[in-house]
C-alpha cells in the first residue's frame, strides 16, 4: 500500500492537483508478489449470452486454479476496441484479450502481444494445425482461435418451395446460376427478394480466393491488383439490376443493421451471405430452419475456408504470462470450459473438443459442425489476416458496394478505389 501511494505521488509530478489528491487514489493495483495470489484481467467483446457463458467458464477456471482470480472486462464491439487501444497506449492492457482477425496483425505487428510459440502451459497437441497457423503474424504465433467460422450462403427452403424453385446444388453452382435463381425467386412474387446481405467480407473474401487472390498477402500488402475486384463489383451491380436483390438503399441499410435484422433473418429474402456463426442468430430471428450452402464459384476453388472468427491473445506487457497462458489453455482444451462455452464463439480449435461438444450444442451449431465435416474436401487454406493498418478494410469495401449500387461508381472505378484506399491505409500505417 505504502509503495503504491509513494509511486503515485512520484508520478503525479505532472500536475499540482493530482499530487494533492493522489493520496485518495491507491489500492487499485492488485498486490502481486505476496502469497502467490494472482489477479488476471481478461477482456472480450460480445453479447450478453457470451458474457454469461464466459463468466461461467472463468468460474470453472478459478475453481481448478486456486490462487488465480480472473477479472472480467466485457463490452460491445466498438467500445471494446476504443478501450483496448487506449489501455495499450497507457501501458495498461488486460492480460488476456479476445482478438479479432481484423486487428490481429495490427496488435501483433506492433509488438504488444506475447508470442505463444513456446508457452509450455498451452497444450498444442489437440489443436487443429491449420487453425493454429492462422494466428501467426510474420512467422510467429500471437493468438489462438477462440472459434472458427466459414463463409456461406444461407437459403430459406420454405421460400424456395413457395416459389416452386428447386434448391440448387451448391457443389456445382456458378455465380451466374446464383443471379438467375435469385432473380427467379424475386419474380415468383412470394413476398421476398431472391438475395440480400451483399454487404461485405464473407463474399469478398470467398470471391477473391476463387480468383486466386486475397484481400491481403502474408507479407502485409494488398492481395489483388487494381482490377482485381471489378468482377466482384460487376456481380453486385448485376444482382441489383436483375432484380435479384432489393433496392440499393435497402441493401445499404443492412450494412448498419445487426444480423438478426437482415432480410434473410426476417423472411424478406430467400438467400443471403453470412459468416456461418450467424446461423443461430439468424434462424432464431426467423423462427425456422435455413439451409447452409457453399458459395457459388466460377473456378475450381470453392472459396470455403475456416476463418478465425475470434482469437485469444496475451498482452506483451503482462506480469503473469504463465497464468495467462494457463487460462487460454483452459479455455481451449478443458472440457469444463467447453461445457460452458460450447460453440458460442465458433467451432472450437481443439478437434477433440469439437467432437466433445458435437451433441451438446444447439441444433444449428450441430449442422454447422456437420457441414464442415461433409465439405472437408472443399476446405481451402484461410487467407492471411488483414495487414497492419488494414483493420477497417470492410468499411472500404462496403463504401465501394454502396457507391456501385447507387451508380456513383462503375465496377471498375470501385475496384480501383478500394485498391487505392487499402494501399493508402497500409502505407499510412508505415
Amino acid at each position: 500500500m505504502k509503495r503504491t501511494a509513494r509511486l503515485s505521488i512520484a508520478l503525479a509530478g505532472v500536475t499540482a492537483v493530482s499530487l494533492a489528491l493522489a493520496g485518495c487514489a491507491g489500492g487499485s493495483t492488485p498486490a502481486t508478489e505476496e502469497g502467490g495470489d494472482v489477479t488476471l484481467r481478461f477482456a472480450w467483446w460480445g453479447s450478453d449470452a457470451r458474457h454469461t457463458a464466459t463468466q461461467a467458464a472463468i468460474d470453472a477456471f478459478e475453481e481448478a486454479n486456486p490462487g488465480i482470480t480472473v477479472e472480467a472486462e466485457f463490452g460491445d464491439w466498438g467500445g471494446y476496441w476504443d478501450r483496448l487501444a487506449t489501455q495499450t497506449a497507457g501501458g495498461n492492457a488486460p492480460d488476456v484479450m479476445q482478438m479479432s482477425d481484423a486487428y490481429l496483425a495490427e496488435y501483433a505487428g506492433r509488438g504488444v502481444l506475447l508470442p505463444l510459440d513456446d508457452r509450455a502451459e498451452i497444450d498444442f497437441s489437440g489443436l487443429d494445425a491449420g487453425g493454429v497457423a492462422s494466428g501467426e503474424v510474420d512467422g510467429k504465433l500471437y493468438a489462438l482461435q477462440a472459434g472458427a467460422n466459414f463463409p456461406a450462403v444461407l437459403a430459406n427452403p420454405a421460400l424456395f418451395e413457395a416459389a416452386g424453385i428447386e434448391m440448387p446444388d451448391d457443389s456445382t453452382w456458378s455465380w451466374e446460376d446464383y443471379v438467375q435463381v435469385a432473380a427467379d425467386l424475386t419474380k415468383a412474387g412470394v413476398g421476398a427478394v431472391g438475395t440480400d446481405s451483399i454487404i461485405g467480407d464473407p463474399v469478398t473474401n470467398a470471391w477473391l480466393l476463387q480468383h486466386g487472390d486475397s484481400l491481403f498477402t502474408a507479407d502485409g500488402k494488398v492481395g489483388f491488383d487494381k482490377d482485381g475486384l471489378t468482377g466482384f463489383f460487376e456481380l453486385v451491380s448485376e444482382l441489383s439490376t436483375s432484380g435479384a436483390a432489393p433496392a440499393a438503399s435497402v441493401i445499404t441499410e443492412q450494412m448498419v443493421l445487426s444480423p438478426d435484422q437482415w432480410g434473410i433473418a426476417t423472411g424478406k429474402s430467400a438467400m443471403g451471405f453470412a459468416w456461418s456463426n450467424l446461423l443461430t442468430t439468424i434462424e432464431g430471428s426467423l423462427g425456422s430452419e435455413l439451409d447452409l450452402l457453399r458459395m457459388p464459384t466460377d473456378s475450381k476453388e470453392s472459396g470455403l475456408y475456416l476463418r478465425g472468427a475470434m482469437y485469444y491473445a496475451i498482452s506483451a506487457g503482462t506480469k503473469h504470462p504463465v497464468e495467462s497462458a494457463k487460462l487460454i489453455d483452459f479455455l481451449l482444451n478443458d472440457e469444463a470450459a467447453a461445457d460452458e462455452l460450447l460453440a458460442e464463439r465458433g467451432l472450437p480449435l481443439n478437434t477433440s473438443i469439437r467432437e466433445y461438444i458435437a451433441d451438446k450444442v444447439s441444433d444449428p451449431e450441430q449442422r454447422l459442425i456437420a457441414f464442415t465435416v461433409d465439405n472437408a474436401d472443399a476446405l481451402g487454406t484461410a487467407p492471411s489476416v488483414p495487414a497492419v493498418g488494414g483493420g477497417t478494410y470492410d468499411q472500404v469495401i462496403q463504401r465501394g458496394i454502396s457507391d456501385v449500387l447507387f451508380g456513383t461508381l462503375s465496377p471498375k472505378e470501385a475496384s480501383e478505389r478500394v485498391h487505392t484506399e487499402l494501399s493508402d491505409l497500409l502505407t499510412a500505417a508505415g
Binding site: 505532472v14 500536475t15 499540482a16 492537483v17 493530482s18 466498438g78 476496441w81 476504443d82 487501444a85 487506449t86 495499450t88 497506449a89 495490427e106 496488435y107 506492433r110 509488438g111 504488444v112 432489393p246 433496392a247 440499393a248 438503399s249 435497402v250 445499404t252 441499410e253 450494412m255 448498419v256 443493421l257 493498418g389 483493420g391 477497417t392 468499411q395 462496403q398 463504401r399 454502396s402 457507391d403 447507387f406 456513383t408 491505409l425 499510412a428 500505417a429 508505415g430
Partner: protein
C-alpha cells in the same frame, strides 16, 4: 476561500478597487485555473504535439513534422466531411433554435398543462445518444419504417431514408431538431428572467404581440439566444454520437453522414492514426474558433447586456 478574507474589510478607497477586484477574480477563478492546469492543458498540449507525429497508439509516437497537415490538404474524404459538417451546422442549428424559441414562447406564459408539455418535449433529449436511438431512427426512417408505412397508404413506395445518400443527412438533421429540449429549457429559463413589468408597460402603451416580441423579448433574451447559438454551433461541429450510432460508425451510406468528428474518430481509433486525428482536431479547433469569433463579433450588433 481566499476571497472572504479579502472582502471582509469593505473598501472605501477607490484606488484599491481594481487591484482588489483582480485578486477577488482570481480567487473565484482558482478552481477553474487549477482545473485547466491539472486536467486540460496537459492533454491539449499532448494532442498538439501528437499532431506532428505518426502515432498508432500501440507504439511510441515518431516525429514527422507537418506531414499530417500536408496530408490533410490531399484527403478528399476529409474535405467531403467538412462539407457535410458545414451543411449540418447551417441547416440543423437554426432550425432547432427557431423551433425551440417558438415553443418556449408558446409555453412561457403560465398556460395550463405547461409542465406536462415541457416534459413531453424534453423527453427525447433525455434519451440523448443512447444506443436505442439507432433502432428508433431506423424504425422511423428505415425501409420498413413508419414514414414509409404512412407513404404506402398513399401508394408511394419510399426507399430507406437513413440509407439513401440523398436523404441520410436529412434524417440526422431531423434527429437534431427532435432533441430541441436543451435549448428550449435554456430559453424558458431566460424568458423567466425578463421582468413582467416591461410587458405590462408595453401593453399599456398599446404594443401588439409582435412589437412586444421585437422590442422586449428579443433584445432582453438576446444573451440567451446568443449563448444557445454559440454552443449549438460548437456542438454541431462536434456532432459525433448520433451519426456514429445511426450509421454504426461508418458515416454511410457512401459517406453521406461522414461528419468531421466521425472521420476523425475513424482515423484515430479503428484506424490507429492518432497523429493524423490530432492534426484534424486542431484543424477543427481552428474552424470552430474562427466561426465562434465571428459570432462574437457579429453579436456586438444584436446582443444586449444589462450593463
Amino acid at each position: 476561500m481566499t476571497d472572504t478574507t479579502l472582502t471582509r474589510t469593505p473598501s472605501r478607497a477607490k484606488r484599491g478597487r481594481g487591484w482588489r477586484d483582480s485578486l477577488a477574480a482570481y480567487g473565484f477563478l482558482a478552481p477553474w485555473i487549477i482545473g485547466m492546469l491539472a486536467f486540460t492543458i496537459g492533454p491539449v498540449i499532448a494532442s498538439f504535439f501528437l499532431s506532428f507525429t505518426q502515432y498508432n497508439l500501440l507504439q511510441p509516437p515518431t516525429w514527422i513534422g507537418t506531414k499530417n497537415y500536408e496530408m490533410m490538404l490531399q484527403d478528399e474524404r476529409l474535405h467531403h466531411s467538412i462539407g457535410v459538417t458545414f451543411t449540418y451546422v447551417a441547416v440543423a442549428v437554426p432550425l432547432q433554435l427557431i423551433v425551440a424559441l417558438a415553443l418556449a414562447m408558446l409555453l412561457d406564459r403560465g398556460m395550463r398543462g405547461m409542465s406536462f408539455y415541457r416534459s413531453a418535449f424534453y423527453l427525447p433529449s433525455m434519451l440523448g445518444a443512447s444506443v436505442a436511438i439507432a433502432v428508433l431512427w431506423r424504425q422511423m426512417f428505415g425501409a420498413d419504417g413508419l414514414v414509409n408505412q404512412v407513404l404506402a397508404m398513399f401508394g408511394v413506395e419510399g426507399a430507406s431514408w437513413i440509407a439513401s445518400p440523398d436523404t441520410a443527412l436529412g434524417t440526422l438533421i431531423l434527429l437534431h431538431i427532435w432533441t430541441f429540449g436543451s435549448p428550449l429549457v435554456i430559453f424558458l429559463a431566460g424568458l423567466r428572467n425578463i421582468p413582467r413589468m416591461y410587458y405590462e408597460a408595453a401593453q399599456v402603451d398599446g404594443a401588439g404581440p409582435l412589437r412586444r416580441f421585437g422590442a422586449i423579448t428579443l433584445p432582453l433574451l438576446s444573451p440567451i439566444i446568443f449563448f444557445n447559438l454559440v454552443l449549438q454551433i460548437i456542438g454541431a461541429f462536434q456532432t459525433f454520437t448520433q451519426a456514429f450510432v445511426v450509421s454504426n460508425g461508418t458515416g454511410g451510406p457512401s459517406d453521406a453522414t461522414l461528419f468531421f468528428t466521425l472521420y476523425l474518430y475513424q482515423k484515430g481509433f479503428p484506424g490507429f492514426q492518432m497523429g493524423y486525428a490530432s492534426a484534424m482536431a486542431w484543424l477543427l479547433l481552428l474552424i470552430v474558433a474562427a466561426v465562434t469569433a465571428l459570432n462574437f463579433w457579429i453579436s456586438k450588433w444584436w446582443v444586449f447586456y444589462e450593463d
